[in-house]
């Protein structure tokens, strides 16, 4: 028959909202929009999460979702939108990120070897601890928190937190055994990593301590092999539409997680003005470093972040 089946290599558990609330509905909309001519088949991971850019570029899989920070050296521009502050949700930041990418970052050519289908950022990340409320800046000092690389490591170190690097699969064990004092996570991840019974406190930071960025890509040759009609159909449900879908899904997941955690009796402590000032100061320093870094690529970082902030305003105004 004339149906095209595209293989999506999925390394996430099928209970994860990225799978169930972003990738699956998006795949369904591709099928609807192409009137059934293009179908997306989900396969178990064909490689490690960090390998998925290469897997799609080389045609091992047709489509995949991955995380910029896993191969941070290849995506210097994404760091800018993960900096502290900016937005209290995922929807506005995700849509703004897509628009900022198109106007400022695309020219860096980070995705030139693949067809970029979508980008988003997750909700604001906070500090999660066990039996230890963070009431003052000093409380952060020497706190051992499970962290990943990139922005998470940078902002943690600048706040005198001791980041303990660990693969995602080890997170639960580390927290449960008290190897770390807590984690740096968005609301949703505390629940999806099953940490809800073993943590108790959240330090909430307006605008978030950071937000991680994710992308969805398709193999270039695969995309080129589709009819112009189907290409247009896929583009209609991707790009900004995908950013919107993903942003809504993250916001829903964060809200649901907040309800669960509140029901579990979590204490949410808003950051003190003193902590906020320090987060802003260190965020500004990281921003300056990043602007200098992307300048060598011919990207005007400060203009890009201005656009990012403007678009966040616009989207939130339109809502």
């Amino acid at each position: 028959d004339d149906q095209t089946v595209l293989r999506l290599s999925n390394w996430l558990p099928t209970t994860h909202p990225i799978y169930s609330d972003i990738l699956v509905p998006w795949a369904a909309s591709v099928e609807t929009e192409t009137e059934g001519r293009v179908v997306i088949e989900f396969l178990p991971a064909l490689g490690r999460p960090a390998a998925h850019f290469d897997l799609v570029r080389d045609g091992v899989a047709d489509i995949a979702m991955s995380v910029h920070a896993y191969t941070a050296d290849r995506f210097p521009t994404a760091y800018g939108v993960t900096l502290p502050g900016f937005a209290d949700d995922s929807l506005t930041a995700s849509v703004a990120y897509w628009r900022t990418f198109e106007t400022h970052f695309a020219q860096a050519g980070e995705f030139r070897d693949v067809k970029l289908l979508g980008l988003w950022v997750h909700g604001p990340a906070y500090v999660w601890t066990k039996d230890k409320a963070i009431d003052a800046l000093e409380d952060l000092e020497g706190l051992r928190l499970r962290a990943t690389g990139g922005i998470v490591q940078d902002i943690a170190e600048r706040l005198d937190i001791v980041p303990q690097f660990a693969p995602a699969s080890e997170t639960y064990e580390l927290v449960a055994r008290g190897v770390v004092d807590g984690v740096l996570f968005p609301m949703e991840s505390v629940v999806s990593f099953r940490l809800e019974p073993i943590l108790t406190d959240a330090l909430t930071i307006p605008g978030g301590l950071y937000r991680d960025s994710h992308y969805v890509i398709m193999n270039s040759a695969t995309f080129a092999s589709l009819s112009a009609e189907d290409q247009a159909a896929i583009e209609r449900v991707s790009g900004e539409a995908m950013a919107r879908l993903a942003g809504k899904a993250w916001d829903n997941a964060d809200a649901a997680a907040r309800e669960t955690l509140e029901a579990a009796g979590y204490t949410f402590t808003p950051a003190t003005p003193e902590i906020m000032a320090e987060v802003r100061r260190q965020g500004d320093a990281l921003e300056a470093e990043w602007i200098a870094r992307v300048e060598t690529l011919g990207i005007d970082g400060s203009a890009a972040l201005a656009t990012y902030a403007e678009e966040i305003e616009k989207v939130s105004g339109a809502r």
Binding site: L43, L55, D58, V60
Partner: protein
């Protein structure tokens, strides 16, 4: 569906011609992937998996558990274990065979491998059974069968591989293996009793020890007990993660071996090198298995299987029975670990689609794999014994393990009838 079966047949064909099974899986995985997609993606897939597979933190449990077992073997703890078991049950009918089984069970608690268990215990158990005039069938049968306990009682290399391939919690799998492992030990001991009562000539009793002697030898086994408590207790007491437990276990085993004396720096290097070589062997199979699994996945096997099951309209127990029969048949001709890695991409999704618990299924699979270790014509534990005992015929050993295979089948049926025996 047919692509997967053709691929499986090709691997078996290459293996029979003498190509190491790891490399047969790589070749078939590559060519199969290329026929479904294209040559360029297949080449990229091979490069990516060869590069990525070993760069995995959680897989470090494999070399470390292997290292722990090798240090323990070198420390001579198996001798003490056997002597202690003998002091307690040696005077019973078939007592030396019982001592063999119990020391196999004890050694399993610090060894991740069945071959290592069988090889280590045979060194001490075989001479004493010879001395008391045990039938070769009962003597070798109890060692070969007792050795299989090595992969069910934690730690277990095979359970680690199952956890890695199917994304299940290794700590949970370890706990789940304890009761079925002890049940296996119990059924093996009953088997020996039946044999010894039916034919007292086959397994005469040994000397009786008094309580003072018993306590004296029991005290010498504290090392194994301490190690097992440290590793398993450490995981569940919250001292460290299952991955770290392997590192702590290996280091403690080294200290134990050093404390017992007679271990030079050269010996330590030799044990490190031996463990490294075994690790490389396992990873070659693992890389091959991942390549083959990728071919199976892009060939759309899961989709086809679901269609077939729906069309056949069979219940989950029929599906499970089919899987187990396949394992028993494959287990006759395939080496156990490569069989697990080869079949998991096909059978695991099938069992999950039929609604079985992943941990329980893992334990059941390991029990059938234990059987494969002692069934002819390829029974690795039997071969290990043959390598250490040059004057016993292979057929004698296979005849000797037959009653134990019966005990294993009985255990399998018990696990099916009473799934709660597996703590999930």
């Amino acid at each position: 569906m047919s692509a997967a079966l053709v691929g499986l047949a090709c691997i078996l064909g290459l293996a029979v011609l003498g190509v190491p099974i790891a490399f047969a899986m790589m070749l078939v995985g590559f060519i199969g992937f290329a026929t479904v997609t294209d040559w360029y993606p297949a080449m990229a897939m091979v490069g990516q998996l060869a590069y990525d597979t070993s760069l995995t933190y959680s897989l470090s449990v494999l070399p470390l558990f292997i290292l722990m077992g090798n240090f323990i073997t070198r420390a001579g703890l198996s001798d003490d274990l056997y002597r202690a078991a003998y002091a307690f049950v040696g005077h019973l009918r078939g007592g030396l065979a019982l001592s063999t089984l119990i020391s196999c069970g004890g050694f399993s608690a610090v060894s991740g491998s069945s071959l290592a268990t069988a090889a280590t215990i045979s060194r001490v158990a075989m001479p004493s059974m010879r001395r008391f005039g045990y039938a070769d069938t009962l003597a070798t049968g109890s060692i070969a069968a007792g050795g299989t306990l090595g992969i069910l009682i934690p730690p277990s290399v095979v359970l680690v591989l199952y956890g890695i391939m199917t994304n299940n919690d290794i700590g949970q799998l370890f706990i789940a293996g304890i009761v079925p492992g002890l049940l296996g030990l119990l059924l093996y001991c009953l088997t020996v009793q039946v044999i010894a009562f039916a034919n007292p000539e086959a397994g005469p009793p040994g000397d009786r020890s008094d309580w003072r002697e018993r306590l004296a030898v029991l005290r010498r086994t504290w090392g194994i007990l301490a190690l097992f408590t440290l590793v398993i207790g450490g995981i569940y007491g919250g001292l460290f993660t299952p991955t770290e437990a392997a590192g702590v276990g290996a280091a403690s085993a080294l200290l134990l071996a050093l404390a017992r004396g007679g271990l030079s720096l050269r010996d330590v290097a030799g044990i490190l090198l031996e463990s490294a070589r075994t690790t490389a062997m396992i990873f070659a199979v693992l890389i091959g298995a991942f390549m083959f699994a990728n071919f199976i996945n892009v060939a759309g096997l899961m989709r086809d299987l679901q269609t077939v099951i729906a069309a056949l309209d069979v219940g989950p127990l029929t599906v499970l029975a089919g899987i187990l029969v396949c394992y028993l048949l494959l287990g006759m001709v395939l080496e156990s670990m490569s069989m697990l890695l080869l079949t998991i991409p096909i059978f695991y999704p099938l069992a999950m689609a039929a609604g079985f618990d992943p941990i329980w299924f893992g334990i059941v699979v390991v029990v059938v794999i234990e059987i494969s270790l002692i069934t002819p014509p390829i029974g690795m534990n039997v071969f290990v014994l043959r390598a250490t005992l040059s004057d016993v015929a292979t057929t004698t050993v296979f005849r000797g393990v037959l009653p134990f295979v019966g005990a294993d089948i009985l255990r399998l049926l018990l696990l099916l009838a009473a799934p709660w025996l597996v703590l999930t």
